[in-house]
Amino acid sequence: MDFEPQYTPEQEEFRQEVKAWMKDNVPPGIVHPADPIDLTEEQYQLRRDFGRRLGAKGWLWATAETEYGGGGLDVEHAIVLEEEAEAAGLTIPPFYDSGGRLGGASIVVWGSDEQKKFFLPPIFKGEVRTWQLLSEPEAGSDLANVKSTAVKDGDDYIINGQKVFVGSSLGCDYMWTLTVTDTEAKRHENLGWFMIPSDLPGITVQPMDLLISGGESGAGSGVKNTVFFDNVRVPAFNLIGGHNQGWKVATTHLELEHGTGGKISRNVVVDKLFDYCRTNNRRGEPISKDSDAREKLIDVHIEQEIVRLLQLRNYWMRHSGVTTTYEGPQASYLRKTLGLKMSRHILDILGPAALTFDPKLGASEGHMEAHSRAGIIAIHPGGTTDIQKVIMSRRIGIGREVREKAGALS
C-alpha cells in the first residue's frame, strides 16, 4: 500500500512547469469571500478568465480526453494540478460549474460521437459555465418524480416546467436537465436528459432567498434559483442518451455527486478554524490551549481525517477502475454530518464570534459565520443524509432483494 501519489521524474518536472505557469497566470487580486454570494461580477470574470487559460492548456479537466478538449493526462498529473492550484489558493475549476465534473461525465458515457464533439470541448476548455437543473417542487429526494415535460415537435422538443434550488449567481451558458418525455411510460423509463443553451427564449431565472447557498469556498454557487421553462424550443440533438433514456444518463452524474468521484483536496474550513484557534487568545492564552477547545478541535480533526481517507479511497478507486458500491454515499454521509457537527463545535469553541462576519468581533474573516449557516444547509444538496443511508443500504444488499449497482462512470 502507498497512500501518497508517487511521481516520476517526468511528473516532477511537470510540477515545476505548473508552478511556473501558475505564477504567471493566476490573476492578481483574487479574493475569497466567506459567503460566495459576495462574489462580484468582476471577481467572477477573473476566475472565468483563469479557467479559460487552464482549459486552453488542457489543465482544467486534465483527465478528460484530448479529443473532447480535455488534457488527456493521468491521475498523478491531475493531482499535481490540483495541489498547485490549492497552493495558489484556488480550486479547479476556479468557479462554480456543474458541466465538467457532473454533466460532462454523463455526456462522455451516454452522448453520441457527434454530441460529444459538440458539447464537451467548450466545457472542458472552460469556455462555458453550466448549471445542473434537477430538483423540482415535487422532486427532491424522489428525483424520478419530475413533472416538467419535453414534448417532441418535429426536430425539436418543447420544454415546460419549473426547477428549484438550482444554479448560481451571475448566470450560465448551458443548463442540463431531466424532464418527462413520455407521460404514459413507467417510472424511470419516461425521462429525457437535455443540454439546454441558457439564452433560449422562454427561460426565466429567479434567485431564491436561502439561509446560504454554497459550501466551503469562493468557488461556491452564491445563490440558488428557481428556473421556469415556458415553451422552450430545444433541438432534438440536445437530448443525450435517447428518448426515454434520461434516468440512465442521470445515474452517472448522480453516482459522482453522491461522492463516488472522491476528493483529495483539504477542508478549508477546518484549516481556518485551527489557524484561528492557534493565533487568537482567550483570557490571555491561545484558544487552542484551552482544554475544552482542544477536545472539540481534536474531535473535528479525527472526523475530518476519516472523511479525508474515505474520499482518498474513493478517488483511488475511481481512477484505478475498482468497482464501487456503497463507498460514494458513505463518504458523502460522513462529510455532511461532520459539517453539521462542526458548526456546533465552532459555536462552543468561539462563542458568539462564530455568528457574525463583523471584521472586529467575528472570526476568520467571516468564514466561521458562513460555516455556522452552511453546516446545516450543505447537508441537503446532492441527496440528504437520509438518502445517502438509503443508497448505502441498497448497495450492500440490505432491504432489497437484489443489490443495486452503482451508476456507470466511464
Binding site: D142, L211, R282, L347, G351
Partner: protein, 373 residues
C-alpha cells in the same frame, strides 16, 4: 403532585398564543429580521399594552406580581414566534437585578416604567474576550466625585440595539469591584453597532467617557452589583429556558405537519423511519428541555434551593433548542433553508440564545459545582 397548569395559567397561555398569532405572524417576524426592510413598531407597542412585560415585577411597582411559572408560560408562548425582545432582557433580567440590588429609590424610579415598556433596560455584561464570569468584566469605572466615569466596550450584547437604558457591568479602577451602572443608551459617549450575520440581535456597545452619578449605580455602590446580577440570572435563566422550549415546540409542530403533507416516493415523508427518527429526536430534546425548565421554575416559586436545576435547565435547554433546529432542518431539507418558510428564524435564535446567560459548557461546570463535585 400535579404537573398541570392552573386555570389562570391556561388562560394566559391561550391569550398569549392568540396575541402572537395576531401581532407577530411569520410575515411580521421576517420583516423585523430583515436587514433591509423597516421594522414595524406597532406589534411591540401592543405587547407593551398587554401588561405582560410586568409579569415578574411586584404590584407595588406597577407590575403583575406573577409567579415564575406564570412567566414561564408567557415566555414559552413568546418563544413560539420567536417574538424578538427586549422583553426578557429588560423586564425579566434587568427588573430582577434591580429587585435584587437596587435601592428603594431606584426600584421606584425604574420598575414601573419597565413594566409598561416605556423603559427598556438591557444588561450589558460581556466583552470581546467573551464570558459570563465576573473576571471577564474589564470595562473600567473611574471614581469621579460622587460617581464614576466609564470607559470600555461591551460585545455580543443581546437586545442592545433596542435598549433605552443599559445596565452596564463595570470594574472600579481603585478597588477592583465589579458592579452595575445604569446609563441612558442615547448618551453621546455610547455608540451601539449591530453585529451583522447569523447572530440574532447582537451588538457591540462602545462606551467612552460616560459619567454616572451615584444614583445611577445599582445599590448606590459598585460593590455587590455583580452578586445582584448573578442572583437575578439564576431566576431569569429558567424563564429564558421556557422561551427556548416555546421555540422547540413550534418547530416540532412544524416538522410533524410537514412530514404529513410532503410526499416523496408516493408517500408522506413521515412514513420513512429515518424521518421519524429526526422527529422523535426533536421531541426528545423538546421534552427534556420542557421539564428541566419547569421544574426549575417551580423550585423558584416555592423558594427551594434551585442552583442545580437552573444550570441543568440551561445546559439542556440551549442544547435542546440548537439540536431541535438541526432535526427540523433535516426533516424539511431544501424548503427549510428558504427564508420565507420561517424555520431559519428559530435557527438563528437558537444559535444566539445558546450563549446568552452562559453556554452549555459554562452551565455544566456550574452544575458540577452545585453538586459539590
Amino acid at each position: 403532585m400535579d404537573l398541570s397548569l392552573t386555570p389562570e395559567q391556561e388562560m394566559l397561555k391561550t391569550a398569549v398564543r392568540r396575541f402572537v398569532q395576531q401581532e407577530y405572524p411569520k410575515e411580521t417576524l421576517l420583516q423585523i429580521a430583515s436587514p433591509t426592510e423597516p421594522t414595524p413598531t406597532e406589534p411591540w407597542e401592543r405587547l407593551t399594552q398587554t401588561g405582560w412585560l410586568g409579569i415578574l415585577i411586584p404590584t407595588e411597582y406597577g407590575g403583575e406580581g406573577g409567579t415564575f411559572t406564570d412567566a414561564g408560560v408567557l415566555f414559552e408562548e413568546l418563544g413560539r414566534g420567536p417574538v424578538p425582545g427586549p422583553h426578557l432582557s429588560s423586564s425579566v433580567l434587568a427588573a430582577l437585578t434591580l429587585l435584587e440590588g437596587g435601592t428603594d429609590e431606584q426600584k421606584r424610579e425604574w420598575l414601573p416604567r419597565m413594566a409598561t415598556g416605556e423603559v427598556r433596560m438591557v444588561a450589558a455584561v460581556t466583552e470581546a474576550d467573551y464570558g459570563w464570569l465576573e473576571g471577564d468584566v474589564r470595562l473600567t469605572a473611574k471614581q469621579n466625585g460622587n460617581g464614576y466615569t466609564l470607559n470600555g466596550a461591551k460585545a455580543y450584547v443581546y437586545d442592545g440595539e433596542t435598549a433605552t437604558h443599559l445596565l452596564c457591568a463595570a470594574r472600579s479602577e481603585q478597588r477592583n469591584e465589579v458592579g452595575l451602572v445604569i446609563v441612558p443608551a442615547n448618551d453621546p459617549g455610547i455608540k451601539t453597532r449591530h453585529l451583522p450575520g447569523f447572530a440574532w440581535n447582537l451588538s457591540e456597545i462602545a462606551i467612552e467617557n460616560v459619567s454616572a452619578d451615584s444614583f445611577q449605580v445599582l445599590g448606590g455602590v459598585l460593590a455587590g452589583g455583580w452578586e445582584a446580577l448573578e442572583k437575578a440570572e439564576q431566576k431569569a435563566i429558567p424563564v429564558l429556558c421556557a422561551y427556548q422550549v416555546g421555540g422547540s415546540q413550534a418547530i416540532y409542530e412544524l416538522s410533524v405537519d410537514y412530514s404529513r403533507t410532503r410526499h416523496q416516493f408516493g408517500t408522506p415523508i413521515g412514513r420513512f423511519q429515518r424521518v421519524q427518527d429526526q422527529i422523535i429526536n426533536l421531541l426528545n430534546a423538546l421534552d427534556a428541555a420542557r421539564w428541566t425548565a419547569y421544574e426549575a421554575l417551580w423550585k423558584l416559586d416555592i423558594g427551594r434551593e434551585s442552583a442545580d436545576s437552573v444550570h441543568l435547565a440551561k445546559a439542556v435547554g440551549s442544547e435542546g433548542y440548537y439540536e431541535a433546529c438541526n432535526f427540523a432542518h433535516e426533516v424539511h431539507a431544501g424548503v427549510g433553508s428558504m427564508t420565507e418558510y420561517g424555520l431559519t428564524l428559530h435557527t438563528a435564535a437558537s444559535r444566539t440564545l445558546y450563549h446568552y446567560l452562559g453556554d452549555p459548557k459554562f452551565h455544566r461546570h456550574r452544575l458540577a459545582d452545585a453538586l459539590g463535585l
